[in-house]
Symmetry: C2
Subunit: 165 residues, 2 copies
DNA sequence: CCCTATTATTTCGCACGCGAAACATCTGCC
DNA sequence: GGCAGATGTTTCGCGTGCGAAATAATAGGG
């Protein structure tokens, strides 16, 4: 029989399940809606995210972009390929370091970005903004706590995989 | 400047952003980790989810399954194709209604499901279970509130698209 | 200066994930 | 009984999304 370290205590299981369920719902539904809205301006969800990101913070290298939208480089390469095909962005090789590629909005891309009122995860944002300030702070505090805990687990995991001498 | 109907009030924007950021982090990181763990038993993330679901609630039609794992039928068809290829599940046409297909675990599938201690979204579950009971209740209450709000927006959206005559 | 390790990006193969259209079956209504 | 519309599933095409390997360029030690 395999080793089973964590195993969630049964007395809190229902609450945990419900919370997970709620987070899954919020994430998938918001994502779906955003995608649908993006489609009305001929963009995909990730493309909208990239467009808005570049509009907000300016040119980014492909790695910086991947990190910010939480995707692998190989994924972003594909997204940028398709956006370049649509003339929404261009790739510009850096002069200082010829390995890095900067992604820049074209005029067309910038124009479209300006014209779009849709932010990624709109529905979630709208729903959140109906909360009272104390609720919002409570929520943020608890989520931050969970995130820190997840982060520590992730790091431990990563370390475990790395040290395979 | 274009018309921007919803536009989140600027005074709460930073909080909203941080909350969205946190939820995105929790979701993507948990998903990634689960996928990685699933890989150690030669399953993908969705396949693990399906396996555990069938183990927990028994046979399901393809539609029921899609609904429960929050995916389109066409997506689940593909997942089941691959799982059938690996002899983890079988399709069984219903006798009462020959349109519906029941997905059943094979012996092999059931055995593997029993042997796996990994639940979908493990990391998130583990992190959640470190919260105090009041924190958990607060969190659930607020998330439920948000989810209801999202749901009402989604429904309004759906109605708007349906009535197109 | 050169060789090696590192870093940035791309390529490849595969598994989702979706919407639209096709297909099969069922239901109700005549 | 027959047919029109509804329902369950699959097919198709396309866009992510990932990890591993390939490629290109830089940095650092000798």
């Amino acid at each position: 029989m395999p080793c089973v370290p964590p195993a969630i205590p049964t007395d809190i299981k229902p609450e945990v399940d419900q919370i997970v369920e709620a987070i899954l719902y919020l994430y998938t539904e918001s994502r779906r809606l955003t995608k649908e809205l993006a489609r009305s301006v001929d963009l995909t969800g990730p493309q909208l995210t990239v467009l808005k990101m570049l509009e907000g913070v300016g040119d980014l290298s492909l790695s910086e972009l991947s990190e910010r939208i939480r995707a692998q480089n190989s994924t972003v390469t594909g997204i940028i390929d398709r956006m370049e095909r649509e003339s929404l962005v261009v790739r510009a090789r850096s002069n200082e370091d010829k390995r890095v590629v900067y992604i820049k909005l074209t005029d067309k891309g910038a124009r479209i970005a300006r014209g779009i009122a849709i932010e990624p995860m709109v529905v979630l944002r709208d729903a959140l903004s109906t909360l009272s300030m104390p609720e919002m702070r409570d929520l943020l505090k608890i989520l931050t706590k969970i995130a820190r805990r997840v982060q520590s687990i992730v790091q431990r995991e990563a370390a475990g995989n790395g040290n395979k001498e």
